[in-house]
C-alpha cells in the first residue's frame, strides 16, 4: 500500500484544479477540469449509455445531474451546449450558489480524504488585481477556505505566483520573479529568500487571448482555446488564426511586464536585490510550443527599461503543476517544523 506523507498543495485555477501530495512512490498530482454541465434528470439513461460519469445534486424539484471535469467539456461539445465554469476570470463569482456547490464536489474529489486529522492544505489565491479593483479576492478566498475545511483539512491560503518561486528557485535561494500565466488572470510575485517584495495580478490571461483572437478572426473563443490546446507554435504561426493568437500573446506578455515595471517603481526603494534573479514562468497559458523563446523576444524589447538584473528566463519544470508543487513544499514545512520542535 502506498504511504502518503501529510501536507497537501491545491492549485485552484480557472481552468484546472490540481492537487499535489508526496508519497513513497513520488509526487502524486490529481487534476480536474474546472467545468461542469447540469442536465435534467431524464438525461440519466443517455449518460449511462455514453459511459459518462456524473453526480446527482440538489433535492426535490431542483434535483439535477451534473457532469463535472473534462467529461463536461467533451459532453458539452457533443450537445452543443455551453459549459459552465465555477470560476470566472480567476475568481468565484459571488451569488453563483450552484457554482459553489460544484466547487465543493470538485475540491472533494481532487483532494481526497485527509491522511491525518486536520491535515494542512495550502491552497492558491491570486493577489489583488491591479487593473480591476472591483474583483473580490476576499470572497473567493473565504469560499475556498470553507470548502477545504469542510473536507477535513486545515486550509492555508498562499499566493499563486509565490508558489512558483518556492517550487522552481531553490537553487537561486528562493529568489526570483514568479509569473503564473493562468486562464482567467496572470499573477506575478517577486521574492528574495522567500520574502515577498511584490505581488500583484492582472485580469488578463488565456481567456483574454482567446476572446481577442476570436474577435479578430470571427471564430469563437472555445475554438481558439481548442486550437491552442491542440498545439500551436508561437514562433511559426501557420495561418491567420494562429497569427492572431500570436499577436494577442505578445500584447499579453508585454502588458504583464509593463504592469510589473509600474508596480516595481512603488517598492524599489524599500527592497534590495543584491544579485541578478531569474524569471520563472508557469501556468497553462505558457504551454504552447516555443513559448519561452517568444517571451524572451518580448522581454528583450523591454530589457533596457527593466530595473532589475535578470540572470535568466526559464519555464517551470512542469508548467501545469508548478503552483501545486510550490504549495506542497510549503505544506510539508508545517510537518518538518513539528519535527524540529520535538
Amino acid at each position: 500500500m502506498t504511504d502518503v506523507m501529510p501536507g497537501c498543495g491545491l492549485d485552484c485555477g480557472t481552468m484546472n484544479f490540481v492537487s499535489a501530495r508526496r508519497t513513497d512512490e513520488g509526487v502524486v498530482t490529481r487534476r480536474m477540469r474546472d467545468a461542469f454541465l447540469d442536465l435534467p434528470l431524464d438525461s440519466k439513461k443517455m449518460l449511462k449509455l455514453g459511459g459518462v460519469n456524473y453526480v446527482t445534486m440538489g433535492e426535490g424539484d431542483d434535483k439535477a445531474l451534473v457532469v463535472v471535469g473534462d467529461a463536461a467539456m467533451e459532453y458539452a461539445n457533443l450537445l452543443s451546449k455551453p459549459v459552465r465554469r465555477p470560476l470566472q476570470a480567476g475568481l468565484i463569482a459571488a451569488g453563483e450558489i450552484d457554482a459553489i456547490e460544484v466547487l465543493g464536489v470538485l475540491i472533494k474529489h481532487v483532494l481526497g480524504e485527509p491522511v491525518v486529522e486536520g491535515e494542512y492544505c495550502y491552497f492558491s489565491v491570486p493577489a489583488a488585481p491591479v487593473d480591476d479593483p472591483t474583483k473580490n479576492v476576499i470572497y473567493h478566498q473565504g469560499v475556498l477556505d470553507r470548502i477545504i475545511s469542510e473536507c477535513g483539512y486545515t486550509p492555508v491560503p498562499s499566493n499563486e505566483a509565490l508558489a512558483i518561486i518556492y517550487a522552481e528557485t531553490a537553487k537561486d535561494g528562493f529568489s526570483g520573479i514568479g509569473i503564473s500565466m493562468g486562464s482567467g488572470m496572470s499573477n506575478v510575485a517577486l521574492a528574495i529568500g522567500t520574502v515577498e517584495g511584490l505581488a500583484f495580478s492582472v485580469g488578463r490571461g488565456g481567456d483574454w487571448i482567446d476572446a481577442g483572437a476570436a474577435t479578430a478572426t470571427g471564430a469563437t473563443p472555445e475554438k481558439i482555446c481548442a486550437l491552442k490546446e491542440a498545439g500551436i507554435d508561437l514562433m511559426a504561426p501557420k495561418n491567420r488564426t494562429e497569427e492572431a493568437i500570436c499577436v494577442y500573446y505578445k500584447h499579453h506578455i508585454q502588458y504583464v511586464l509593463e504592469v510589473f515595471l509600474a508596480e516595481f517603481v512603488k517598492i524599489k526603494d524599500k527592497f534590495a536585490i543584491p544579485k541578478p534573479i531569474p524569471i520563472v514562468v508557469g501556468g497553462g497559458t505558457s504551454k504552447p510550443e516555443n513559448f519561452m523563446e517568444f517571451f524572451q523576444q518580448v522581454f528583450d524589447r523591454m530589457k533596457r527599461k527593466f530595473p532589475i538584473e535578470i540572470s535568466e528566463i526559464r519555464h517551470a519544470s512542469s508548467p501545469l503543476n508548478a503552483v501545486a508543487h510550490g504549495l506542497l513544499i510549503q505544506a510539508g514545512q508545517e510537518y518538518d517544523e513539528d519535527e524540529d520542535d520535538e
Binding site: 508526496r22 508519497t23 512512490e25 513520488g26 509526487v27 502524486v28 498530482t29 490529481r30 487534476r31 480536474m32 460519469n53 456524473y54 453526480v55 446527482t56 445534486m57 445531474l65 463535472v68 471535469g69 473534462d70 467529461a71 450558489i97 459553489i100 456547490e101 466547487l103 465543493g104 464536489v105 470538485l106 475540491i107 472533494k108 474529489h109 481532487v110 473580490n136 476576499i138 470572497y139 473565504g142 469560499v143 470553507r146 470548502i147 469542510e150 473536507c151 518556492y166 517550487a167 531553490a170 537553487k171 535561494g173 528562493f174 529568500g193 522567500t194 519544470s317 512542469s318 503543476n321 508543487h325 506542497l328 513544499i329 510539508g332 514545512q333 518538518d336
Partner: protein, 234 residues
C-alpha cells in the same frame, strides 16, 4: 454715419490741410464734412493719387483691450525703450512663524469635537430606534395570550424590518461617497455546508512523478529557515 475711406495709390502724398502724409497702401478714414471741406484731398483725388470711397461703417461694441495690449499701426515700428533698472523692491517681510504644535492641537481638538458630535447623533438615533421597537412590539403583543415562539419571532422580525431601514438610511447617508467600498474586515456571507454527500462518479486524472526537484527544494527551504533562525538567535 457716412465716412470717406482714403487709400494712398502713389509712393507718398502730403495733405497739408488735413495735417497728414500718406504712404502707398495706407488707408485712413475721415468724417464726411471734414473730407468735403479739404481742398488738398479733392486735388489728390482728381490727380489719381488717392482712392476715395464714401462708406457707412457700423459701430460694433468690442470688449476692451487687455491692459498690456497696444495696437500698432501697420508699417510703424514699435519703439523699444532702453531698459531701465527696476526700482529696488522692498525687502520681503519675514514670514510669520508657524507653531506646528499649536496647529496640531487645534486640528486634534476640531476632530475630537466632530467625532463627539457624530457619536451624539448616533446615540440619539439608537435611542429613538430602541423606543420605536419597544412601542411597536408592545402594541403588536397587547391582548394576545398564549403566543408561541414562532409567532413571537414573526412579530419581532416584522417590527425590525419596519423600523430598521428608515434608521439605517439615516445613519448611512453622511458616509455615502462616490462608490461603495468593502473593507477587508467587513463581514461577508459565505454559506455553510457547501460540501455535501453526492451520489455518482467523478473521474480525476492522476499522475505520479519523481520527487527529486521537490525534495531538493524542501531541503533547501528547511536549510534557509534554519539559517534565518540561527541568525535571529545570534
Amino acid at each position: 454715419m457716412k465716412e470717406a475711406r482714403v487709400t494712398c495709390k502713389i509712393e507718398q502724398i502730403k495733405l497739408p490741410d488735413m495735417g497728414i502724409t500718406l504712404v502707398r497702401g495706407q488707408e485712413v478714414w475721415f468724417g464726411e464734412r471734414e473730407a468735403r471741406r479739404s481742398a488738398d484731398l479733392n486735388h489728390a483725388r482728381k490727380i489719381g493719387a488717392i482712392d476715395l470711397r464714401w462708406e457707412t461703417r457700423c459701430r460694433v461694441s468690442k470688449p476692451p483691450a487687455p491692459p498690456h495690449f497696444r495696437k500698432l499701426r501697420p508699417g510703424v515700428r514699435k519703439q523699444i525703450e532702453p531698459s531701465r533698472p527696476e526700482p529696488a523692491k522692498p525687502a520681503p517681510a519675514p514670514a510669520p512663524s508657524v507653531d506646528l504644535d499649536l496647529i496640531g492641537k487645534q486640528v486634534k481638538a476640531q476632530v475630537a469635537a466632530e467625532m463627539a458630535r457624530q457619536m451624539g447623533q448616533l446615540e440619539g438615533q439608537m435611542e429613538t430606534m430602541r423606543t420605536d421597537i419597544v412601542s411597536q412590539v408592545t402594541a403588536a403583543l397587547s391582548g394576545q395570550k398564549g403566543m408561541d415562539a414562532e409567532q413571537m419571532a414573526a412579530v419581532l422580525k416584522a417590527t425590525l424590518e419596519q423600523v430598521l431601514p428608515a434608521h439605517s438610511a439615516a445613519v448611512a447617508a453622511p458616509a455615502a461617497k462616490g462608490h461603495a467600498t468593502v473593507s477587508s474586515d467587513a463581514p461577508m456571507f459565505i454559506p455553510e455546508g457547501i460540501v455535501k454527500e453526492t451520489k455518482g462518479k467523478v473521474k480525476v486524472q492522476q499522475a505520479t512523478g519523481s520527487t527529486g526537484g521537490l525534495d531538493d527544494a524542501a531541503a533547501a527551504l528547511k536549510a534557509l529557515k534554519r539559517k534565518k533562525k540561527d541568525k535571529t538567535n545570534d
